[in-house]
């Protein structure tokens, strides 16, 4: 895993994101923009499931119409997230918030699979019954709680800076990294240009 992280962060694209000034904050801003857009859809779906809002609109219309836009939003978030994580892969390997966030996202995947059959795929039946079952409300509450926890851990990632130098020394891995770096392609010839 650690070796994989070290390999990932010296790929050309991860190096570019790490070493240039603009890409990291730009991708981070896009990451957050897509999060905001998806958050609106997640929030309204869950609040509708809780029976708090949009009560005049059928549950099925809210759930079904937002399903694909949400998926596209998630995809965009994940692409940005992977780019960000790859640029600091080794640091994140030691970052407790990163792993907490990944675990929460795994839980959200389980959540989606578990509640899909009885809640999200049954929105029309729930409408006909005219009453939102407890399980649907549980799904909504859990989803909101998990997403807020993801946000907390996401922000937490930035507060941890693992002392990589010390860790390398402790592992006796300095030589290994130096080797990896010297094999890493120089970025767009920028580094070379500067040194000449």
């Amino acid at each position: 895993m650690l070796t994989f992280a070290q390999w990932v962060q010296f790929t050309r694209i991860a190096t570019a994101i790490r070493e240039l000034y603009l890409p990291y904050p730009v991708i981070l801003s896009l990451h957050l923009s897509f999060i905001a857009l998806s958050a609106g859809m997640i929030l309204m779906t869950n609040l509708r499931l809780l029976g708090v809002t949009m009560r005049k609109r059928p549950l099925a219309e809210v759930v079904n119409q937002l399903r694909w836009p949400k998926r596209i939003g998630f995809l965009a978030i994940i692409i940005c997230g992977l780019l960000l994580a790859s640029s600091k892969a080794e640091e994140y390997y030691y970052n407790v918030f990163f792993w907490a966030k990944m675990s929460l996202l795994a839980l959200l995947a389980v959540h989606g699979l578990y509640f899909r059959r009885d809640v999200y795929n049954r929105a029309a039946e729930i409408d006909q019954a005219g009453r939102i079952p407890g399980k649907a409300k549980l799904a909504a509450g859990l989803s909101l709680a998990l997403w807020i926890s993801v946000a907390i851990c996401g922000r937490g990632i930035g507060y941890i800076e693992p002392p990589l130098d010390k860790l390398h020394a402790a592992r006796g891995a300095d030589a290994l990294i130096a080797g990896a770096q010297s094999h890493a392609p120089t970025l767009l010839g920028l580094n070379k240009g500067r040194s000449e």
Binding site: Y21, Y24, P25, V26, L28, S29, L32, S33, I35, A36, L37, S38, A39, G40, M41, I42, L43, M44, L47, T53, M54, K56, R57, E61, V62, Q65, L66, P69, I148, A151, I152, G154, R155, G156, Y159
Partner: protein, 146 residues
């Protein structure tokens, strides 16, 4: 600087990150609910509802998000006012934020409540999204322009 040091917010390391979380959740709710209407104007998402219906449904939640932003933001600012005030990204963010809010509660609101359709309404949605995304970019770049 005197202000920053005397500020009780700076007494604990946990306060600022906590405020940040409120700020992030707040803008996700605020921009997300506004975005839902913008996407509807663009023909994405809640298309079987009228634009005005979607706008009315989300409006109170936009205010919830705004309240979170406006409670946490100034407190974060007070933790280091000089740094923020002189930070170009912060200045850009505030201008965009003022513009986005103004646009949201004037032109965009009128278009949405009238059930806007057509190229004009789409343009309004794009401008709204761009303004809010600029605010997010400004916010992120505060930490990258020192």
């Amino acid at each position: 600087m005197i202000l920053a040091e005397a500020n009780p917010l700076n007494a604990s390391q946990l306060i600022f990150p906590t405020l940040e979380v409120f700020h992030i959740v707040g803008f996700a709710i605020c921009v997300g609910t506004i975005g839902l209407v913008d996407l509807r104007l663009l023909g994405v998402g809640m298309n079987r509802q009228k634009v005005a219906e979607v706008a009315q449904d989300v409006a109170p939640w936009t205010l919830v998000g705004l309240a979170l932003i406006l409670l946490s933001g100034p407190l974060m600012f007070s933790s280091d006012p000089d740094m923020y005030y002189l930070n170009p990204a912060f200045q850009v963010k505030m201008v965009c934020f003022a513009g986005a809010l103004l646009f949201n509660y004037t032109i965009r609101r009128r278009v949405a409540l009238r059930g806007g359709a057509g190229a004009g309404a789409k343009l309004v949605a794009v401008i709204s999204l761009l303004l809010w995304v600029s605010v997010i970019f400004g916010g992120i770049f505060i930490a990258f322009t020192m």
